[in-house]
Amino acid sequence: MTRVGIPHGLFYYYYYPWWKTFFNYLGAEVVCSNPTTRLTVDQGIGAAVDEICFPLKVYFGHVLELKRYELDWIFIPRMVSVEHRSYICPKFMGLPDMIRASIPDLPPIIDITVDVSQSNRILKRDLLQLGKLFTSRESRIREAIKRAREEQNFCDTLASQGYTREEAIQLWEGKATHSFQAPILNLGVLGHGYSLYDAVINMNLINHLRNMGCRLWFPESLDADDVETSAATIPKRVFWTLGRKMVGSAIHLSQQPEIDGIIYLACFGCGPDSLIGEIIERQINDKPYMLLTVDEHSGETGMITRLEAFCDMLLRRKNTGNEDNISAHGQYAYCRQSTI
């Protein structure tokens, strides 16, 4: 049986059900690398250039893990654009080339280009061509694409129930379940999925927050149309798909009365994040907002302290109600109108 390796990183979190269903239906076995560990991180750091962002280093680690298995193919798509007139990030556009240049002796790479910024005609053609690696029957490939889309939709629905994408994928595979406690705080948690839902990259952010009694709202928990509508309120359309989702989610969440605060998880060296964080900071004036930047630094304590302080502050604000508009700084650094 043909074995296809899929690294457990980057767009795995968004499209794994699609990919797995597609390859399985065509008769290939899918081998996914294990969830990120410190070893993955260390190996990735060794293989990638210093300046690259953390999730990509982790991805290099996953590819190195897959290299140890006996694989016929390794699936590293070139994700250029997943919707009309938007991009992901330049680094994703050069990903297969970077992997090829940095990690020698890999099995052949399936580097299909996903670019639907103009039309999805070429992608369809490429998918049919890709399917021909596994079967000669075009009808079967078309069926595989259809099923893959259905499974993807199913997993997206799961993700909209308040699960992280990683949990949704686990549920979709019939593995884990997670029960939520009655929340004492409602927090919006935003960030690029591949860093936000990876427990090593996000330093257990999600678990820590849940243990502190927070109910978390992810971009996927929100209605996609609401997010798009909110994102359209800023002067220029953000041309990064994930970035626009974050801006839209932040603006939408800031208008929901039940949300107590918003946390944005950014990666050090992430290009879009450096500007998106700034846009969000200026757009939400009336909700507490915290920007956390992570890199390969591995001490969790600093993160926990900041999360606890943030949650304590939100609780005090909620319970006493008198800390509403008083900033410790004296005035809001980015407020358009004076609030005091």
Binding site: V49, Y87, P90, D97, A101, I234, P235, G271, S274, L275
Partner: protein
């Protein structure tokens, strides 16, 4: 209306000329200085790339001396540059400046859109005047490029480096002052004869290709004047990009001159097979091109966290091995100590020099 615009190397000379023809007053920002950078760093997002910070500093300084309208280029990604203007406007608004911002976008890649936008800025300018103005500006831009090329070529072999530096600065001023196409051409010819007459030493001269991100290549204030530093180490430089290339490719979408862009993209294969925004693919393409032309070494420069250049950097290692050309990557941020950069440049140049001598000995049959 007093228009200002961001600095990018010697672009201000050409932009000034354009707006003079369009009968608009311009106030170019003061040259990029330590203060510019400090202002920019203070008010820009911490992790934004260096050009944004310099832009913000430029705008603040220009408005301090009376500018009230900002002209800025836009874009549609995936590089961060496309969103600069929006962020800059927000920052300056929050700082309490009142100004208009004109963002030049060529959304459908049509050069006429751009020309129309420009014409609307001008006061009562006919299409004919407009075309004349653009033509004259283009001529000036090419002249500046040519003069920069002369500088890069003659600084390395020159005996008296200071004389070349002085002549270069003087030349830029003369090109700035030349107010017709004919005068520009004549000035340039005179300058070239002068720079050729500067006595040269007979030590070995290295050829280094300078590749990387456009802004850091063009703006000496953000690259510690790397061209001058290398020139003083007896190196001649070839850059992967000049101002006219950038204007042609980015603003005019390759309408004006047929560039060698296609050739360069072909060179990038099989290392980088896709456009990655910014000049990532060009960086790899030129690296291969320079290597095939037997350059002695390559230096890649870019602002810290520049996305397209990181892609290129990841691949450059392989290019270096397979094409047999030494490469070094330098990233710049607001850090302002030059000693570290000088040391690295000297070490790199020394190493290349030794390699050259070694090859000479081998080709002459050994010791």
């Amino acid at each position: 209306m007093k228009i200002t615009f961001p600095h990018m190397g010697n672009m201000h000379i050409a932009v000034k000329a354009l707006f003079k023809e369009l009968k608009i007053e311009t106030i170019p920002p003061p040259p990029v200085s330590q203060r510019t950078l400090e202002l920019g760093v203070k008010y820009s997002p911490e992790f934004a790339c260096l050009p944004l910070k310099v832009n913000v500093g430029n705008f603040i300084e220009a408005m301090e001396i009376g500018a009230d309208t900002i002209l800025m280029a836009g874009g549609w990604g995936p590089c961060r540059f496309g969103y600069y203007a929006q962020i800059e406007r927000d920052i300056l608004n929050d700082l309490g400046f009142s100004f208009d911002m004109i963002i030049l976008e060529a959304p459908e890649s049509r050069v006429t859109d751009l020309l129309n936008q420009l014409r609307l800025i001008g006061e009562n300018v006919s299409i004919w005047q407009m075309v004349k103005a653009v033509n004259y500006t283009w001529h000036k831009l090419k002249a500046i490029d040519y003069w920069e090329k002369c500088y890069e070529r003659y600084l390395g072999p020159a005996l008296d480096k200071q004389a070349v530096n002085d002549l270069y600065n003087q030349g830029l001023q003369q090109i700035d002052e030349a107010d017709t196409k004919q005068k520009v051409t004549r000035t340039l010819q005179e300058l070239e004869t002068q720079i050729k007459q500067i006595p040269q030493h007979n030590k070995p001269v290295l050829n280094i290709g300078l590749i990387g991100e456009v802004y850091t290549i063009l703006e000496p204030a953000t690259n510690y004047n790397i061209i001058r530093q290398l020139g003083e180490l007896n190196v001649t430089i070839s850059r992967s990009i000049y101002m006219s290339d950038w204007v042609n490719d980015h603003l005019l979408k390759g309408m004006v001159i047929k560039s060698n862009h296609k050739h360069i993209v072909n060179c990038a294969e099989p290392y980088l097979n896709y456009w990655v925004g910014g000049h990532g693919q060009e960086t790899i393409g030129y690296a291969v091109d320079f290597a095939r032309q037997k350059y002695d070494g390559l230096i890649q420069i870019g602002p810290l966290t520049c996305m397209p250049e990181i892609v290129a950097q990841s691949i450059l290692g392989k290019v270096s091995i397979e094409q047999g050309i030494p490469c070094m990557t330098l990233y710049f941020d607001e850090h302002s100590g030059t000693a570290g950069i000088s040391t690295r440049l000297e070490a790199f140049v020394d190493m290349l020099g030794r390699k050259q001598v070694g090859q000479q000995i081998i080709s002459e049959g050994g010791f």
